[in-house]
């Protein structure tokens, strides 16, 4: 149990997909203008990565290593299609906001990387926790970015006004440029924070 927790939790801080691995960057900036969209994207990625880790782990002994990458890609694309059609049917507004970025989840390097590095070598349950942890780390990072951008760019969180009507929204946060700059600074802050943690554990 403790082991599973370790597998799950490493994706949230130590190897948080957005800040550390610098993989799967496109959606982080594009759809994080509001908290709702950021959360929807994070959730979609979390489901895809967990489900794909399960499916890859189940078939890991059947797949010839030479064709493994195309097989993984088909598996990811199928899961993404299922999620896309589900959202289209039940949440058309969010589907419209996410647009092409939802379909592009297929090519997120992190999903293929987890299948290749972890799920293809491990049993089903640890693979699920690995994918779930990575997905959860992605989800929290997306929400974090979404909150900052919506709060400063629009003065609201989840559509509720926070600063009142006298607050002039900083439009740049909603623009693509603001997304880039914000992530740049977050990467820096994250680096300092992680270094401190390492120093502390080193001193011990």
């Amino acid at each position: 149990m403790a082991n599973l927790w370790k597998i799950f939790s490493k994706g949230i801080i130590q190897e948080n997909p957005i800040f550390v691995l610098a993989l799967s960057l496109c959606p982080a900036v594009a759809v994080s203008t509001t908290v709702v969209n950021a959360a929807a994207m994070g959730l979609a990625v979390m489901i895809v990565i967990s489900a794909n880790n399960i499916s890859v782990s189940l078939i890991r002994k059947l797949v010839n290593p030479k064709v493994r990458v195309p097989v993984y890609i088909i598996s990811i694309a199928t899961i993404v299609t299922v999620i896309e059609l589900t959202l289209k049917a039940f949440a058309p507004l969010i589907y419209k906001d996410l647009g092409v970025y939802l379909q592009l989840v297929v090519v997120f390097a992190i999903i293929l990387a987890r299948a290749e590095v972890f799920a293809s070598k491990n049993r089903v349950i640890p693979s699920f926790f690995d994918g779930f942890g990575m997905g959860f780390g992605f989800f929290t990072a997306m929400i974090f970015i979404g909150v900052i951008r919506e709060l400063f760019g629009n003065g609201t969180i989840l559509g509720f006004s926070v600063f009142g009507s006298s607050y002039p929204p900083a439009l740049i946060m909603i623009l693509p440029a603001g997304g880039f700059i914000l992530i740049g600074y977050l990467v820096g802050v994250y680096k300092i924070w992680n270094e401190r943690i390492e120093k502390r554990s080193g001193a011990r």
């Binding site: 610098a22 960057l25 496109c26 594009a30 088909i74 090519v107 693509p176």
Partner: protein, 193 residues
Amino acid sequence: MTEYLVLFVSAAIVNNYVLTRFLGLCIFFGVSKSLDASIGMGMAVTAVITVSSALAWLVYYLFLLPYQLTSLTIVIFVLLVASFVQLLEMVIKKYMPNLHKMWGIYLLLIATNCIALGVPLINVESGFNFLEALVNSFGSGVGFALAIILMASLREKLKLADVPKSLEGLGVAFILAGMLALSFCGFSGMISL
């Protein structure tokens, strides 16, 4: 004729696929460390996107749409783009070894990339006809090349600058991209489609 020109300028500059739509960021940040590499990458991306989206358009309208298989669009497009790039790599390796030495590594990086998959999907979603799709894809490739070359030139200058230690590498690259995106905002409103 004018409408195709407008479409081209829109895809390349006004709605630049990298700086305003965030497609292809992985290679944008990965390869923009040196100017030579980014020129090669820009040309490779332009060529691959133009041909692969033309193929994807044909497959969609000749095969997927008539047989009502549009739910398979993502699966088919991913496989199509990735296998086309692999094939191209093999052909170039056999017949143009010099070119392969320059471009080979970039081609494999493009195989599963947001921009190589995103442009064909956007073409189909916007309901472009074949020529429009071709112009849009070529324009987006040129836009990518423009963005990555600008970025590489900036990053080469940046090597001489005194960057705070925590922002070194990816952090400052993102902030630079933000500045670049901000300047591209100046073009918005120039063309409205």
